[in-house]
């Protein structure tokens, strides 16, 4: 009658504190969101935090499809963008009619917009998963993005549609003019959306989404229609993407066709995958990292997209579980107390890997700046793109770094196997 796992596995599964630990995580997240702008109060960091918050909601919504239900969408920005446009129109309408609707409600309207569109196109799209769904999502994405340039009255053409977020009624004396107030509005929605999306994974529908991801054929033989499951997942993903779009519209006070486009769809796929789709918190990490990199790299190099490509390929090839996958792989070792035996090999491997990475950077920058541009500044050392010494340095770093790194990573794998064996013996690894 009772669910009695072996003591060792139970020990591995048991979270410290149980329910307290669960609520503790969200309380901690709330505290962090409140305190963050007090520590980093510059305008630049407030803008960054706002964008990261929006990216988190967007990536989490994407993972309802990719990680939870196994649907690879190339057009998730459609729901995001339409949510943004609806939010802008709603803000303008509210301001024009002096309706008593405060700004913090607007993202919800964006969410309803995203969901409504998903409701409309989703039934046909989700009939099949896999390549069919991916191709249709790409088609719908292109369709809507091109429509946005044609239907000027709704989408405002090239320039988009602008709005003024301060023209709505103030709430508790907040006009949402200053960025700090917008940040808190976004932070509130990040927390609410993240909790809601986490809760969704813990419902019967959320679990059946996982089953559809793993084996849609078998789902049909336990009473479920996988088509309905995919459709519902698609609507929820559209809803939260719409919220993210609504927040973007508030943040920039504009919605334009770029919101809906393939770039935006690629960006969210990218963030989610780099963060890791197998764990709920993966897309959060990915959104933070990718947004931060995007903001940081654009000021350092003109070819920042090339670096994104390199990082993406690297993750797909060497860590398909993303950052979250890498982190969670170490959990059994930490619990078994054997992580310490692996760390030295990591430190050794880090040196040639870093050299290899520097070589790649030097190569990319040399190519990018060969026909003009500033000298390359790498770790304070200036390199001239046209100098053969630079090419030689890059080649040595890339080739030498790669060869040595390969040996050291083999050592890491051996150390890993030993540590994992011990962890397995101690019952922390199935």
């Amino acid at each position: 009658m009772t669910n009695a796992p072996t003591p060792s596995l139970a020990a591995a599964k048991q979270e410290p504190g149980g329910a307290l630990g669960f609520y503790g995580v969200w309380l901690l997240a709330a505290a962090a969101l409140i305190v963050l702008p007090l520590i980093f109060s510059s305008g630049g960091s407030l803008t960054s935090f706002s964008l990261i918050g929006i990216a988190i909601i967007f990536a989490l919504s994407y993972n309802i499809l990719l990680g939870q239900t196994g649907l690879l969408s190339f057009g998730h920005a459609v729901q995001y963008g339409l949510g943004g446009f609806l939010a802008v129109h709603a803000m303008n309408a509210v301001a024009n009619h002096n309706w008593p609707i405060p700004l913090p409600v607007i993202p919800l309207i964006g969410g309803i917009g995203g969901m409504a569109f998903a409701l409309l196109v989703g039934w046909v799209m989700t009939k099949r998963a896999g390549t069919v769904f991916a191709m249709i999502s790409l088609g719908i994405g292109e369709l809507v993005a091109s429509s946005s340039l044609i239907l000027r009255s709704v989408f405002g053409g090239e320039s988009g549609i602008t709005t003024d977020r301060t023209s709505l009624m103030p709430m508790f004396g907040w006009t949402f003019g200053p960025q700090i107030q917008v940040y808190y509005l976004i932070a509130f929605w990040v927390l609410v959306s993240a909790i809601a999306m986490y809760a969704l994974t813990r419902t019967p529908l959320g679990r059946i989404c996982n089953a559809v991801r793993d084996n849609p054929e078998r789902v049909e033989f336990i009473g479920y229609d996988p088509h309905v499951v995919r459709y519902l997942a698609y609507m929820f993903a559209g809803f939260f993407a719409g919220i993210a779009g609504g927040l973007t519209a508030i943040n920039f006070e504009i919605a334009n066709s770029a919101y809906l486009g393939a770039m935006q769809s690629g960006f969210v796929l990218f963030s989610t995958f780099i963060g890791g789709t197998a764990y709920f918190f993966g897309p959060i990490l990915g959104a933070i990292l990718v947004t931060y990199l995007q903001l940081g790299l654009t000021s350092v190099t003109s070819v920042w997209q090339l670096y994104f490509g390199v990082i993406f390929i690297g993750i797909v090839m060497f860590a398909p579980g993303g950052i979250a996958g890498i982190l969670m792989k170490h959990r059994p070792l930490i619990r078994a107390g054997t992580l310490g035996t692996v760390i030295p090999s990591y430190l050794v491997a880090a040196i040639p890997t870093l050299a290899f990475a520097l070589g790649i950077i030097l190569t990319i920058e040399t190519v990018a700046r060969f026909s003009g541009g500033d000298p390359i500044n790498l770790l304070g050392i200036p390199f001239v793109a046209t100098a053969p010494t630079t090419w030689a340095a890059a080649a040595v770093l890339v080739v030498g770094g790669f060869l040595v790194a390969r040996i050291t990573w083999r050592r890491v794998a051996e150390a890993w196997d030993r540590a994992a064996t011990v962890a397995r013996d101690r019952g922390y690894l199935a």
Partner: protein, 249 residues
């Protein structure tokens, strides 16, 4: 009394190739019915037809008196028929516990609910624990299904099949690839878990078939050439000639 499964003159062709010819089969309620036949006779196709995985070209299939030919698999499942697969067909990345729990959810009426916490459903929890206990996998409940041993995956396969409480259970070669000891264990398990339900089983192991079945149907080239008690089948010259040969003596 209406039969649990009634197959009337079902034909199935893939292109020009006719796989099932004039298939007639009747399985009474509470009966343990085995379908045997040489490789390629259409046993799995018969399972696929009855469970809705493929649709018959012509003919009619009834489940507990109701016509089910033409319905989708989940519609047939909701009407009380559950099947297992010859090739293990579980949710590989989910734990054993979650595998069984997913199979319990529809039957306990939670359907597509997105407003309930799945961990807070006492009936679901209790039934899942009961099934895991029944299939002797309680101690493996936290292990991802993909990491189970082959025999354990076969047991989980049976567990998922019976979890919804269907009154007609169809098992497609449940002991395929198992050792002798594992087979004995599996047969005892099947016997116990399908008590009071209708069982249709496809099996190659004749000791399993003759030990378990109340009735046996022999399928050859997509057509049932004989249907009867184990004794009748043993004594049937047509069966001997077509399939069993000296094996049953």
């Amino acid at each position: 009394m209406t039969a649990a499964i009634q197959v009337n003159a079902v034909e199935k062709s893939f292109g020009n190739v006719q796989i099932i010819r004039d298939l007639n089969l009747s399985v009474a309620k509470g009966e343990r019915h085995a379908i045997i036949g040489p490789n390629g006779a259409g046993k799995s196709t018969t399972f696929n037809l009855i469970s809705g995985y493929i649709k018959p070209t012509s003919g009619e299939i009834r489940l507990n008196g109701e016509v089910t030919s033409g319905l989708r698999p989940f519609e047939i499942n909701r009407r009380g028929l559950s099947r297992s697969f010859q090739v293990t067909n579980v949710f590989a990345r989910m734990t054993v516990w979650e595998n069984v729990r997913c199979a319990v959810l529809w039957a306990t009426g939670h359907r597509y609910a997105f407003w309930k916490n799945v961990d807070n459903l006492p009936e679901v929890k209790q039934r899942t624990a009961q099934i895991l206990d029944d299939i002797h996998l309680s101690h493996r409940s936290d292990v991802p299904a993909g990491l189970l041993t082959y025999a354990e995956q076969r047991e989980l396969e049976i567990g998922i099949t019976i979890a919804g409480g269907a009154n007609v259970i169809m098992l497609d070669e449940p002991t395929a690839g198992m050792s002798h000891a594992e087979t004995e264990r599996a047969v005892a398990l099947i016997r116990r878990l399908t008590e009071g339900r209708t069982l249709v089983i496809v099996e190659h192991d004749m000791s399993v078939v003759f030990g378990l079945a109340d009735r046996i149907s022999v399928l050859v080239y997509g057509h049932i050439i004989a249907s009867g008690t184990p004794e009748e089948i043993r004594g049937n010259p047509k069966v001997k000639e077509a399939y069993l040969g000296e094996e049953v003596d």
